[in-house]
Subunit: 257 residues, 2 copies
Amino acid sequence: MLNVSSARVVAARKLTERAGRRAAGLFLVEGPNAVREALAAGAVRELFCTPAQAYEGVSYAGPIHLVDDRAAAALSETVHPQGVVAVCALADVPPEVALARRPQLAVLLAEVSDPGNAGTVLRTADAAGAGLVAFGGGSVDPYNGKVVRSAAGSHFHVDLVCDVPADQVIHAARAAGLRVLAATGDGSAGLDDEDAAGRLAAPTLWVLGNEARGLPPELASRCDDRVRIPIHGRAESLNLAAAAAVVLYTSARAQRR
Amino acid sequence: MLNVSSARVVAARKLTERAGRRAAGLFLVEGPNAVREALAAGAVRELFCTPAQAYEGVSYAGPIHLVDDRAAAALSETVHPQGVVAVCALADVPPEVALARRPQLAVLLAEVSDPGNAGTVLRTADAAGAGLVAFGGGSVDPYNGKVVRSAAGSHFHVDLVCDVPADQVIHAARAAGLRVLAATGDGSAGLDDEDAAGRLAAPTLWVLGNEARGLPPELASRCDDRVRIPIHGRAESLNLAAAAAVVLYTSARAQRR
């Protein structure tokens, strides 16, 4: 059983830092549910688990290391380690590759810094049937432990794009025939009006900005339209993940009518 | 300037614990935006701020205490204290009082334990125009610091109900003429079908369950219908706050058509 000072554990721990992930081309996925998705996607390169957390029923030919609780905790980024951590290959693709698959629904996060929000948007985009989720330059690293945890396995379900400037993603999406819509608090078009007019049935890239600052104006001006989510009550705005859920599910419904 | 050992600061610190809040009938609200909403609602009983955080432009006749940074940090539950903390009167009302105002849209959280999720649902419900948000028995305390932070002032915008058993809220809502819908992963009715059939235009109470376990079956069986949010992609489910955003905005749109 490996302990916290074993060379394999020490090497895997480096993946809790962005620099370590980029150098190795690997990231960590924790917990039985997310690890199952990683295994199904063929992304797992190495698996660590505690004896208490039997891991079986999946086809996986790579190394499985039994670790003690301290080593499992050292590889975990949560308060309650779940006893299973997989080392996985980074999953992102260039935007052109993702767009060549003709996604009907896509999301671009621009300068989104909160990892929980970013991971929830990725999970929600997956649920809404989006084919592409891009983390534009200046956004949190999609392989950050909190993003991975919030996304609950969706890294392996959609085409993930990262480390590409937001305006380059917008340009490529438009060239691929997608309508590019900025979700903003003060857009000129109302979401429900866009929906009622049938304009959300087209293939769409939704662009979402930072939790506090919103979309940079120069980026919003590059979108085809700025769309406002209605605020019926007295809240000043929606949380980013809630806004993403509203626009993505409105598009998903419109595209299936 | 008050320091961390001042009697007022020591007394206010007790409000970071549930027992202290219940004993005093008070809770803490932090940050300029949320405190502005509390002031507008007339809920503030005492205000603490640092000299760096000038607080002006609002009508407030109660005590304002200047505090040093350490005292501000002691009253804060965040990593980056914002320098303004208000002691506010608890804001909840009995369900009968809230229902007498005839809300068209309402939410009940059943055994929801994650404070960030709960606060985000409250904020989203406010944005969607809901008039009532109930935290059923077994849910996180709505006055918990993380809930308050995530709700961003919405405690003062909707009728908040708490410490009431979930089935009692369901009973009272139905008696007041609301349709009671459980949002579940496996409901018999699809959300889009309900919407297309015009059934979401009625006054509605949405019942949402725990992040991991979902709704207790005995509670789901007390609802008029169990409604399934479609999963178009490969995610297993939606995060609770995202699910709330989808159902509440679908209802809000249906009620305004």
